[in-house]
Amino acid sequence: MAAIETTYRDALRQALIDAMTEDASIFVMGEEVGRYGGAYGVTKGLLEMFGENRVVDTPIAEAGIIGAAIGAAMTGSRPVAELMYIDFAGLTMDQVANQAAKSRYMFGGQIGVPMVLRTQGGTGRSAAAQHSQSLEAWFTLIPGLRVVMPATVNDAYHLLRMALKHPDPVIFIEHKALYVRKGELDVDNPDGAWGKSAIRREGTDVTIVTYSKMVFESLAAAEALAGHGVSAEVIDIRCLNPLDDETFITSVMKTGRAMVVTEAVMTSGFAAELSARISERCFDFLEEPVVRVTGEDIPIPVSPALERGAVPSAQLIAETGLWLVKRIAPSWAA
């Protein structure tokens, strides 16, 4: 089938429809996933297609939802539990970290928990401090969890399809500002295998390692940098666990400079992990220190101007790239 243009949201929905059609053990549960069609419309129409047993509207009870999904996964079903905002993860964390993540190991490999926890995070809607966080590091900290964060429309579809064939719990983190974004969906051709990075733009002077919405900010920055004679390579890691270090390490060995870009905060964020791996493995190849460009170490403020300022913009990424490569300092440089 030829590629079609669609939105991130519709690609996710198509992935659910195709997976549920193919595999009768898959069912969806969560707050407002049925009649309402999902807080961001991803599950719209699924109730009509698959019925109430496979599209389950739940009470507002996140710990119970995730706990129930675990039990279902242990007994032959493949649940997709939707957590409306990643910010509500705190309510579910025992079930995710102590139950879902540890069952296979703690019970000596006797049982697995093949479930997908779909959620979304990030800024962009003035949703304030409790509805805008980038909390992927809460999950990457826990051995036993897979964590994926699609940026492109094609990945929204394919990574979700792959997650739904995975034997272990997958935390599938979407970005609220990407749902309406359009792109190409080719159901026959994923952007890469599960656990492999994608080189979104090739370049020779600096490597930008990133994921989720920051892929697009980084691509816009790379475009701006090209105007200044700087050639940036943009790598979308797609999967935080399993993490493909080879692609970005090969790239940094080639370019000699690396920037890691995340919307999440700097301190103890996933950018620290990426930066450490680059520093360890590319020490002899680096011409400059690895630079992290991340969200500020603050809660997300509601005021639109402050909210925008709290996370990296294409402009900030480009300014940093120019500084790193050409030693041209931005106007705000101290």
Binding site: Y36, I60, S126, A128, A129, P312, A333, A334
Partner: protein, 340 residues
């Protein structure tokens, strides 16, 4: 008729009208493109919480949920600062950091306004403990929705309050919906106060269409709580409009909405005031006009107010004088700047 009589009803009417008009103006602010985002949850249909707020003492404390505008107005908050906060402006209650879902005036006894459903409920237990230990006669009231009553935290909190006989009241505003889910699709037993009774609380159900009933019952429940018998008020009402600004409630039919909106404490109070000849239509109209002027002014105030400066984003993460988060640009300068 309640103890306070018709004067009280007139007073409550005015409060409820202020809530409704405020919410209508929030809508206007949104239409004019001046709100910070669209996560605006209106309390139209829930104005009878004025009766609960009126039964509280000035020094009592409370927590609210994401639909808290009405509660703050009833507790005496300044509509200008509320509207400014909704617009994300610097002179808003939370300096433009919190927005609609987090408006809170600590000067009025607020202990926070939560966008995590159920998040504010347990705080009243701690407040109750603190009052008891400090020998204070205050009560702490948690306001939350019917949807929040499906969260486990409520049961932990109710059990502790009952076990320790704390001066605490749980006030569940049962507007029948949690987003698109009607209460009977979220709870097998929709008599939510019965769950409280099972926990050992003084659980009552009140009609949110009748502010006098709400007030009278609240006085009793708060009074008991003040004397060591924690309570639970389930106020039945109807969410007249969508869950948030952009929700048009396609999941419920028109007949239900028309019927539901008949539960209207504002109009009900107005009719009673006229019937009892406490007031007449003309005087009530002019009271409404005055309220409209006040709320129009709040809209203009919020639009004219200035947005917070970029530097303010780093303020208040920690207490003043403590080490503060280092801005990213400073970090970058330390790596790439001349001084490196």
């Amino acid at each position: 008729m309640t103890k306070g009589g018709n004067r009280l009803l007139l007073d409550l009417y005015r409060t409820m009208r202020r809530i409704r008009t405020f919410e209508e103006r929030v809508n206007e602010l949104f239409v004019r493109g001046q709100t910070a985002g669209s996560m605006l949850h209106m309390s139209i249909g829930e104005e009878a919480i004025s009766g609960v707020c009126r039964a509280m003492e000035q020094s009592d404390s409370f927590t609210t949920h994401h639909r808290g505008h009405g509660i703050f107005i009833a507790r005496g908050a300044d509509p200008n600062r509320m509207m400014s906060e909704i617009a994300g402006k610097a002179d808003g209650y939370c300096s433009g950091k919190g927005g609609s879902m987090h408006i809170a005036d600590m000067g009025l006894g607020a202990l926070g306004a939560n966008a995590i459903v159920g998040g504010g409920i347990p705080h009243v237990v701690g407040a109750g403990l603190s009052y008891r230990n400090r020998g204070l006669k205050n009560v702490s009231v948690a306001f939350f929705g019917d949807g929040a009553s499906q969260q486990g935290i409520l049961y932990e909190a109710m059990n502790m309050a009952a076990l320790w006989k704390l001066p605490v009241v749980f006030c569940c505003i049962n507007n029948q919906y949690g987003m698109g889910t009607r209460i009977d699709r979220a709870a097998a037993n929709t008599n939510l106060h019965e769950r409280a009774i099972a926990c050992g609380l003084n659980g009552v159900a009140v009609d949110g269409g009748d502010v006098e009933e709400v007030h009278e019952m609240s006085e009793r429940v708060l009074d008991s709580a003040r004397n060591g018998r924690p309570g639970f008020i389930a106020m039945t009402c109807y969410r007249h409009f969508g869950h948030a600004r952009l929700d048009k409630s396609p999941y419920r039919d028109e007949a239900e909405e028309l019927e539901g909106r008949k539960r209207d404490a504002v109009l009900n109070a107005r009719a009673k005031l006229i019937e009892r000849q406490t007031s007449d239509a003309a005087s009530l109209d002019s009271m409404d006009d005055e309220v409209a002027k006040e709320m129009n002014a709040a809209v203009e105030h919020a639009i004219a107010a200035v947005p917070p400066g970029q530097d303010s984003m780093f303020r208040d993460v920690f207490a003043m004088g403590e080490p503060q988060p280092r801005p990213l640009r400073q970090h970058l300068s330390s790596i790439l700047g001349e001084a490196r």
